[in-house]
Symmetry: C2
Subunit: 404 residues, 2 copies
């Protein structure tokens, strides 16, 4: 049997490391950036385009997939890989982050993580809190899509994720609001730990149950436990100690991207660094700006997921690097919608070898974005993801050379 | 020098023929369907995807390109092929159709040809007719985009189309409203004929002027004259006789798709059939339903442009053929948004070899369309255009075998 995770090289300068994650759908060279394919499709790119770019893995969201098209549709199709033809390693989250973050944002009528405006009229019972009840049992809430009362429990999250069938799945966690008091953060953390044990048990049960039914569900899913603890050092450290000592295949750090400053976010990773496992992969949830990535690999993070490169692309914010060195503090975005690009016949980045930069000028991209042409989003996404892949390649090279 | 148009084979059964159009950007086997890339991009497909499907040529709209990004931007980029990287033969229209059809539709606040709603607030001077003046000189109108006063004349249309630089360009014509009286249709037709002569003269002038300046503009553009005459047999025949006797490289039939019934449309083609040139290619503007195409090749039409397959795709209307015979009266659309497809794990068309049908189920496409995912439009467009290409291949085969 192939080992799920191998450390290939440790840097002499920090906890940064090169690794290899092996799944039934392919391998991931780490550190790796994992773009988000929320609803089982990477917005604006069809599967062979991901391969062209060199995307190693993608991240799907259980909350959204359970709402649409529903876990049963995906299970009937033989799992998310078959359904979406994303023939690469896939990770799914537990649904917890969306349950909490969407519920929190919604009363203000603000934007959901997809960038589309949540219309007040879309939500039944909007006057009441959308989360109906959080208890040790689980979470009851109203669907963002149609107001239905939905319940997520650790067991349900596991069942959903088994039906979806991603290679790497996450334990169900409570992601606290920001700012949250120490007492509440502690309670939520303890709950998350209890839920982790229920997830492990449920996952074992389902595996045993499905062992002899190959037609049914995936048997080769790897479960990550999630470190929580909010903005408090003692809680983060306690959570790290607890989670890493459980029977999990990997560890994720959650809740660091919700509302805090960059410095606080980095601290939360730094605090737990010494407790992170040597022999298991570590994922940082929801962080993906390249300077954060370049900094946080030093604390032992192997994989990162984030909507940033793809969302910025769709907004016309195109990455530009003056040189491809790491640390990449010289990464900036240009706003292609700015009028000055109307006649600019140079590519977004002269040094970029992506399809977009090799073929198109800023003037053309400006035109497509101004006219809201669908190809604008495709070409911009190709570019931003290519830049991310190039920077991650450089980052791995820098670790190999003990420069980080 | 390579001949612009060669007839390769004439059917023994009708005026249907196989031909080859040769341009500096490639060849077109005729009869051919030419999808529309209105603003210099085929909505939802990037250039290499067109090649994968086997698209032989595309059609761009001068009115839209002159409005955005502007003819000067395209000229500065070295022409539309360079700008858009659509490295296939391109045709541009004269702007006439849009000037008249957009102006006509606009006061009702209806949809523009792109399918997006024209908001009343978008248009300055909305209370006045948008066409300010039609005269023998040309047309003055207010831009759909920003309300600017714009003038199109035969000379300006030629200048714009030279700057855009498509391989095949169209003379400026007046496309009458439907229904239009005989007297008005006659006047508009005469105007169109006069404009044709001014277009030919202007095109000659520009060619001579640019002959020694290779950096400037394309020298290898082929000019089509447009047959008009509305719904009247005598006018259509008269127009055909006039246009085909002028110094044009090809002939187009215009105004047949504006508001008439299918039968009337087919009659207008039938009437002029006997006057169509033996040695020049014939284009039918704005017609593209496969049963119309299969019928109208019999009257000597070589190329057809239409937004239908791509627009239907974006609306979730996917082509389905029970068998790929010609005449293809068995072509239907399925509405992928219908609830019954939620669990349908079969492809749109079992017999279709396109990327979409080879990889994805109706359930997945239903999900993408329901969620308005950008990849929905790409996958649907790939499918509808592949079906069109397959049917056109069959149609050419049927002509080769004297079956049409």
């Amino acid at each position: 049997m192939i080992k799920f995770f191998k450390v290939l090289k440790k840097s002499k300068k920090s906890k940064a490391r090169l690794g290899l994650i092996s799944t039934p759908h392919g391998k991931i060279q780490t550190p790796a950036f994992v773009p988000v394919a929320t609803k089982g499709t990477l917005k604006s790119l069809i599967p062979y385009q991901l391969k062209k770019i060199g995307i190693q893995a993608a991240f799907v969201n259980t909350y959204h997939l359970v709402s649409h098209p529903g876990a049963d549709v995906i299970a009937a199709a033989g799992g998310i890989h078959n359904f979406s033809r994303l023939d690469i390693p896939l990770m799914s989250d537990s649904g917890g982050f969306q349950v909490f973050s969407l519920a929190k944002r919604n009363p203000q009528g603000s934007r959901n993580p997809e960038g589309s405006l949540i219309k007040k009229a879309d939500i039944r019972g909007e006057e009441q809190p959308l989360i109906v009840k959080i208890s040790d049992g689980g979470v009851k809430f109203r669907s963002l899509y149609d107001g239905r009362l939905i319940e997520f429990t650790p067991e349900k999250s596991m069942q959903f994720q088994q039906k979806i069938g991603a290679d790497i799945i996450m334990a169900f966690d409570e992601c606290t609001y920001y700012p949250a008091a120490h007492a509440y953060s502690r309670m939520a953390m303890i709950r998350t730990h209890n839920w982790l044990n229920r997830c492990i048990a449920q996952n074992q049960n389902l595996k045993i149950k499905n062992q002899n039914d190959k037609s049914k569900l995936k048997n080769n899913q790897f479960l990550y436990g999630i470190i929580q603890g909010g903005t408090y050092e003692d809680l983060r450290k306690g959570s790290a100690k607890f989670v890493t000592s459980q029977g999990v295949d990997g560890v994720a750090i959650g809740g660091v991207s919700v509302g805090e400053t960059k410095k606080e976010m980095r601290n939360q990773v730094k605090w737990v660094s010494e407790y992170l496992p040597e022999d298991k992969p570590v994922h940082l949830l929801g962080v993906g700006h390249i300077d954060d990535i370049a900094d946080l690999v030093k604390y032992g993070i192997d994989t990162f997921d984030c909507v940033e490169p793809t969302r910025l692309a769709r907004l016309g914010q195109l990455y530009r690097i003056s040189n491809a060195q790491i640390p990449a503090s010289n990464l900036k975005e240009i706003d292609i919608l700015t009028g000055k690009y109307k006649f600019d016949l140079s590519p977004v980045d002269e040094d970029c070898a992506c399809y977009t930069c090799k073929n198109f000028t800023k003037a053309y991209l400006h035109h497509l974005f101004k006219q809201k042409e669908l190809t604008a989003y495709t070409l911009a996404t190709v570019h931003n993801l290519c830049v991310m892949e190039r920077l991650m390649t450089n980052l791995r090279k820098a670790i190999a050379e003990n420069k980080i």
